[in-house]
């Protein structure tokens, strides 16, 4: 296995571990900014309805296995997207 493939595999394995830990034990999110805003009476009116609000698929809320699958799939999408952005930047450099 090349160094690059090994690095990507380690990244996917560690990321999957983070997703599983996040879904099983550390999923409760009460961020300071949200709490401060709510405490002072700020309200939100979303302009955008995201397809997967709060990292849960509609109809499968609270289903840990679905949440883990969503987390891992989108982590891989982030990895591939970032790789593509990095390659595009290199392409720009080689054309310049």
């Amino acid at each position: 296995m090349t160094g690059v493939k090994r690095m990507l595999m380690v990244g996917i394995i560690l990321s999957s571990f983070f997703v599983v830990v996040g879904a099983l034990w550390l999923s409760n999110s009460v961020e300071t900014l949200d709490q401060v805003a709510e405490h002072f009476g700020a309200t939100d009116s979303p302009m955008w309805n995201p397809p997967i609000p709060d990292y849960e698929i509609h109809g499968f809320e609270g289903n840990v296995m679905v949440n883990i699958t969503v987390g891992i799939v989108f982590t891989v999408i982030v990895l591939v997207s970032t790789f593509a952005v990095g390659k595009s930047l290199r392409l720009l450099k080689s054309r310049a």
């Binding site: 690059v4 690095m7 990507l8 380690v10 990244g11 996917i12 560690l14 990321s15 999957s16 983070f18 997703v19 830990v21 996040g22 879904a23 550390l26 999923s27 409760n28 999110s29 009460v30 961020e31 300071t32 900014l33 709490q35 401060v36 805003a37 405490h39 002072f40 009476g41 700020a42 309200t43 939100d44 979303p46 302009m47 955008w48 309805n49 995201p50 397809p51 997967i52 609000p53 709060d54 990292y55 987390g71 989108f74 982590t75 891989v76 999408i77 982030v78 990895l79 591939v80 997207s81 970032t82 790789f83 952005v85 990095g86 390659k87 930047l89 290199r90 720009l92 450099k93 310049a96």
Partner: protein
């Protein structure tokens, strides 16, 4: 905030295309995915709130500030568009706080520590301090933005900044500890991944 952040986006995309090497691209993809996943792990702090790693300091210390900002932008964009985590109208402000302040400040503090001390312990102190200062400053900016949002937030800047900064000192200590541990491990096992001078802005002696 979009306009201020856009300046850094343009600058960072131009500079990143020049300094990113073949080794950094898979590293950039791996770290971006890892911190996207790590941001799903929320640990309890004080006052019933939770925190998660931001990842900006490690992105900065391994990829440099330009690619670090691009990585954080990708994370925040996917969170906002697909999961409604962060919002669209606040996207520019979020990238400013976590991508510009949260990446460039830890990077500058770390690099200065590297230049001043040149020792392993100084390096780790720089990594810890950079992450702590970066997280707290990012929170201070968020507090300022919240306090100035007079249409939706009828409280002063000082109230919002105090509330945000207090909690983020604790978050920053956590981020600093994790950052110092990762830098320490990388220094022992893969020192080639900590090539900061090559990835530095010109005014800090880099590319």
């Amino acid at each position: 905030m979009y306009a201020a952040t856009a300046v850094f986006w343009v600058f960072s995309f131009r500079k990143a295309s020049k300094v990113l090497g073949d080794k950094q691209i898979p590293l950039m993809a791996t770290l971006t995915a890892m911190f996207f996943a790590a941001q799903m792990m929320n640990y309890p702090i004080i006052g019933g709130t939770t925190a998660h790693l931001l990842g900006g300091p490690i992105l900065a210390m391994t990829l440099g500030p330009y690619a670090g900002l691009i990585s954080m932008t990708i994370i925040l964009l996917i969170q906002a568009l697909l999961f409604g985590d962060g919002g669209i109208t606040t996207f520019g402000a979020n990238v400013w706080n976590m991508g510009v302040i949260g990446v460039f400040i830890p990077y500058i503090v770390y690099l200065l520590a590297l230049r001043i001390t040149k020792s392993r312990s100084g390096l780790l102190v720089g990594a810890f301090a950079g992450a702590l200062i970066g997280d707290v400053l990012a929170a201070v900016f968020a507090g300022i933005e919240l306090g100035l949002s007079t249409l939706s937030f009828p409280y002063s800047v000082s109230i919002a900044v105090t509330a945000m900064a207090t909690h983020h000192v604790i978050i920053g200590i956590g981020e600093g500890a994790v950052t110092a541990i990762i830098v320490s491990v990388l220094q022992k096992t893969r020192p080639d991944l900590l090539q900061l001078p090559k990835l530095s802005p010109g005014w800090l002696g880099g590319a």
